[in-house]
Symmetry: C2
Subunit: 455 residues, 2 copies
C-alpha cells in the first residue's frame, strides 16, 4: 500500500472520512466527514477563526448564503469565465477537460496519465472543445425557466463583496480591514480524484482584505507570509510547503497576481491555498451592475476610492488531508515493549494537540476489576465536561494506547491500582510515551495547560 | 415600531443579519449573517456540540455533503412526499400554498391573512392545486438530463442513515447511540416570510438516536425533555416555550409521533424545534433500495434488528431569532446616570454570556490621553488572544457602554486614571452595571471564571 492508500484506509476504518452515499455505490467526488473527521474539521475552522478573526483588530467574520442573486455571477465574471474546456471521446462518450489531458503544470490537478488518449477506452478521437460552466445550476421558486436560474456559489468571496458596504458601516471599519468567511462551496468538476483533493463540494476559508490602491502589493506579500505561517503553526513541515507564482498569462480573470501555497501530497506538489490580488475588479463590477456606490470614503484625505482586495484563500478539506498525510508516521518493529506489538507496525498520527479530534482517552488498566472501572468512569465524567474525550475499556492496555495513537489522541489517562489508593492517575503522552502521575483534583488544570502550551 | 421591526432594524444596523444580495434588491428568504450574527451562530453551534456530542458518551458528530445520490431521496420518500400543494391566482399568476391560505394551525408558518383571496391582487379565482416538490434540483456533471438530476438536501438526517453502518462499526458503538450533525439545508419554499423564520437556506442541528424497537417511546420522551432543557439553559424564558403534539393525521410520512417545541415569537407561537419518532422507516427504506444490510446485531441477544430512530431537530437560525427576541429589553428613561441618556430609551440585549458574540469591550475612559489609550491597547492585546473582544475609544464612555449593551456584550473593561497608578481596571457587568476593580495580572483568570460560571 502506498501512503495515500494507507490514509484512505485509516480514514474509513477509524471514522475520519467516508464516501458520500456509499450504500448506493457513492457519488464521485463527494465525501462525508465521520465522527473524527468532523471534529478535526471543526478544530481547524476554530483555529482559523481564533487566528484571523479573534486575534486581528480589523478582520470580521460573516456567514453568507450559498444561493445568491443571479446578477452576482454576471458581475463577478463567473457566468462567462468560470468554465473548463470540455471534450468528448467519440468512441465511449466520456468527457474530459482539455487542459488536463495535456501535460498540465498542476501535478495534483488530475492530469491524464496518457496524452490525447481516452483514459476510459483508449480512443484517440475527440470532439472539439466546448466551454462548460462549473457552477451548479438550480431554480428559485416553482418555475423552471431562464428567469429563475441561480447557481450554487463556487467561492464564498462574492458575499463579502456584496456585503462590503453594510459590514463596513455597521462595524465602523476603517481601511485596511478584512471580511472573513468559512463556508460550503460547490463546483461541478469534470475531472475529479485524489481522494478528497478535488471534490464537488467543500468548505473554503477566505478573507477579502480591503486596502488602499497602491498599498495592495505590500499587503499581498504580508498575506502570503501570514497564510504560510498558519500552516506551519498547525504543524505542517516546512519542507512540504512551497510557493508557486502563477504566470501572467494563466491568471484568473480578476487577478493581478496570484501565488499558490503548494503542499507535497503523495500524488505530487499540489495547491493547498492561494493568495490573489483581486484589485478593485469585483467591487467595481458589482457597483456597475447594481448601480450602488461601493466606494470607501477616506476621512484623512476626504476622498473616496474603490478599495483593492487581497484575497488569501484555503480549502479546509485540502488542509485536513495535508495534515493527515503530514502527521502520519509508521514505527516498524514497534515502539512499545508489548511483545506482540513489537512485531507489528505501529501507526502514530502526530497531529498538533490543538486540532486532534479526541484530546484524551480514559482507560482503566483492566476491565474486570469493578473498582477500577467505576473510578475510570468517574474520571471520564469529570473530563468530558471540559474536553472531547473517549472512554475505552476493550482489549489490552497496549492495544488501546495504539488505537489512540493511530487517531492522534495526545493523552491517555490511565486508572490503575495505585489510583485507588492515592487518587492519582497517569497521563501518557502520545509522542514521548512518557507517563506522569497527577492527582485527580489537579487533572483538569494540568491537561488544560498542556493543551494550550503549544497554542 | 413593533418588536419584530426593532429586531430587524437592530440586526441590520449592528451587523447581526443582512439581506442576502441586498445591493441587487435581495433575494426573498435568503439572509446573510454579519460579523455579530455569524459569531452568535457559531457560539450556538459550539454550545450544541458541547452539550450533545462532547458531554454524551454515545453521540458522535458527522459532517455530510449537501449533494447526495438521487436514490437517497427516492428511498427517504422525499421525492414523492416532500411537496406542498400549490395554487395559482388566475388573475395575477402569483402562487400560494393551499394549506397556508386556509386557517392553518401554525400561526408562524405564513398563513394568508385573508381566506381564499389572493394576497397580491385580491383575486378569488385560483387554479386547482398541484403538488410542488420543495427540494432544489440540480445536475451532477455536464449533461442536464433526468439521469443526472440530484437535489440539495432539505434535512441533514439522510446522511446519518446512509452512514449508519459505517459510523457504528468505525466507532464500535452499541445501541442506544446517536449520530449528530449540523449542516446547511435548502428548501424551495413558496410562502416565505417573518424575517429569518421561514427561509430557503438554513442550518439544521439534529440527532438521529438509534434505539431498540419497543424502547422508542421512552427515548422519545427523554429527548423532548432534553431538547427543551437546552433552550432553557441558553436563556429562553420558560413562559415563551410550549409543546405542540402533531395530530395523527398530520404526521410526516415517516413519523409515528411528533412533538414540536414552539416559541412565542412576536408573530405568534411558531415551531422552533421538533422531536419525531421516525421508527425504522428510513433504515428499512435505504436497506431495501440499496440492498445493503442496515440492521444491528445485538450481542446480548445474538439477534439482529433494524433500530428505531428518535430524531430531535432544531433550526439554528430560528433559535438565533428566538434568542434575540427573548434577550431584547428596552429601558425607558435610561438606567444610567448620564444626563443625556436618561431621556433616551436604552436597549440591553441580555444574551446568555456563553453565546454573546463579543465577550468584552476594552474602553479607555477618554481618548485624548495617550497614556490611557496606550494602556487600553495593551490590555486589549492581552485579552484578544483569549476572548472575542472589541476595542472602542469613539464617543463618550456612556455611549460606548450603551453600544455594547445593545449587542449583548457581557463585560466592559475600562481603563481609567487609577489604572495608570495601580495597574488595575474595572469590569463593568452588562446586567447589573456594577463595576469591580481587578488587577490586570488577574484579569484573564477572573474573566474566564465569570464566563464559565453559568456553563
Amino acid at each position: 500500500m502506498d501512503l495515500m492508500e494507507k490514509i484512505i484506509s485509516l480514514s474509513k476504518r477509524r471514522g475520519f472520512i467516508f464516501q458520500s452515499s456509499e450504500i448506493y455505490g457513492g457519488v464521485e467526488a463527494l465525501w462525508d466527514y465521520g465522527p473524527l473527521g468532523s471534529l478535526l474539521k471543526n478544530n481547524i475552522k476554530e483555529e482559523w477563526i481564533k487566528r484571523f478573526v479573534q486575534s486581528y483588530d480589523s478582520v470580521v467574520l460573516i456567514d453568507g448564503t450559498v444561493l445568491m442573486h443571479p446578477n452576482v455571477w454576471k458581475a463577478s465574471g463567473h457566468l462567462e469565465h468560470f468554465t473548463d474546456p470540455l471534450v468528448e471521446c467519440k468512441n465511449c462518450h466520456s468527457r474530459f477537460r482539455v487542459d488536463h489531458m495535456a501535460d498540465g503544470r498542476f501535478a495534483g490537478q488530475g492530469k491524464a496519465k496518457t496524452k490525447n488518449q481516452c483514459p476510459q477506452c483508449g480512443g484517440k478521437d475527440f470532439t472539439s472543445a466546448k466551454q462548460f460552466n462549473l457552477m451548479f445550476k438550480t431554480f428559485l421558486g416553482p418555475v423552471e425557466d431562464e428567469a429563475h436560474i441561480t447557481y450554487l456559489r463556487p467561492e464564498t468571496a462574492q458575499s463579502m463583496f456584496t456585503n462590503f458596504k453594510q459590514v463596513q458601516e455597521a462595524m465602523r471599519l476603517k481601511i485596511p480591514f478584512g471580511i472573513a468567511q468559512i463556508g460550503r462551496c460547490f463546483r461541478n468538476e469534470i475531472t475529479t480524484g485524489n481522494f478528497t483533493f478535488r471534490t464537488r463540494e467543500f468548505d473554503i476559508a477566505e478573507i477579502e482584505y480591503f486596502v488602499k490602491p497602491g498599498e495592495d502589493e505590500k499587503w499581498f506579500d504580508f498575506w502570503v507570509d501570514e497564510w504560510e505561517r498558519f500552516f506551519l503553526d498547525l504543524g505542517l513541515k516546512k519542507e512540504n510547503l512551497r510557493r508557486y507564482e502563477h504566470p501572467k498569462e494563466a491568471l484568473s480573470h480578476y487577478s493581478k497576481r496570484t501565488i499558490d501555497i503548494e503542499y507535497k501530497f503523495p500524488f505530487g506538489w499540489s495547491e493547498l491555498a492561494g493568495i490573489a490580488n483581486r484589485t478593485n475588479f469585483d467591487l467595481s463590477q458589482h457597483s456597475k451592475m447594481s448601480s450602488k456606490d461601493l466606494s470607501y470614503f477616506d476621512e484623512e484625505t476626504s476622498k473616496s476610492y474603490t478599495p483593492y482586495v487581497i484575497e488569501p484563500t484555503l480549502g479546509i478539506e485540502r488542509l485536513l488531508l495535508a495534515l493527515l498525510v503530514d502527521a502520519y508516521q509508521e514505527i516498524k518493529g514497534g515502539r512499545t515493549t508489548t511483545t506482540k506489538a513489537a512485531k507489528e507496525v505501529e501507526v502514530v498520527l502526530k497531529l498538533d494537540k490543538k486540532i486532534a479530534p479526541i484530546k484524551m482517552a480514559v482507560v482503566p488498566l483492566v476491565k474486570n476489576k469493578p473498582e477500577l472501572v467505576k473510578k475510570a468512569k468517574e474520571v471520564y465524567e469529570i473530563l468530558k465536561s471540559h474536553f472531547m474525550c473517549q472512554y475505552d475499556e476493550v482489549d489490552s492496555i497496549g492495544r488501546r494506547y495504539r488505537r489512540q495513537d493511530e487517531i492522534g489522541t495526545p493523552f491517555a489517562i490511565t486508572i490503575d491500582f495505585e489510583t485507588l489508593e492515592k487518587d492519582d492517575v497517569t497521563i501518557r503522552d502520545r509522542d514521548t510515551m512518557e507517563q506522569e502521575r497527577v492527582k485527580i483534583n489537579d487533572l483538569v488544570g494540568v491537561l488544560k495547560n498542556q493543551l494550550s502550551q503549544n497554542l
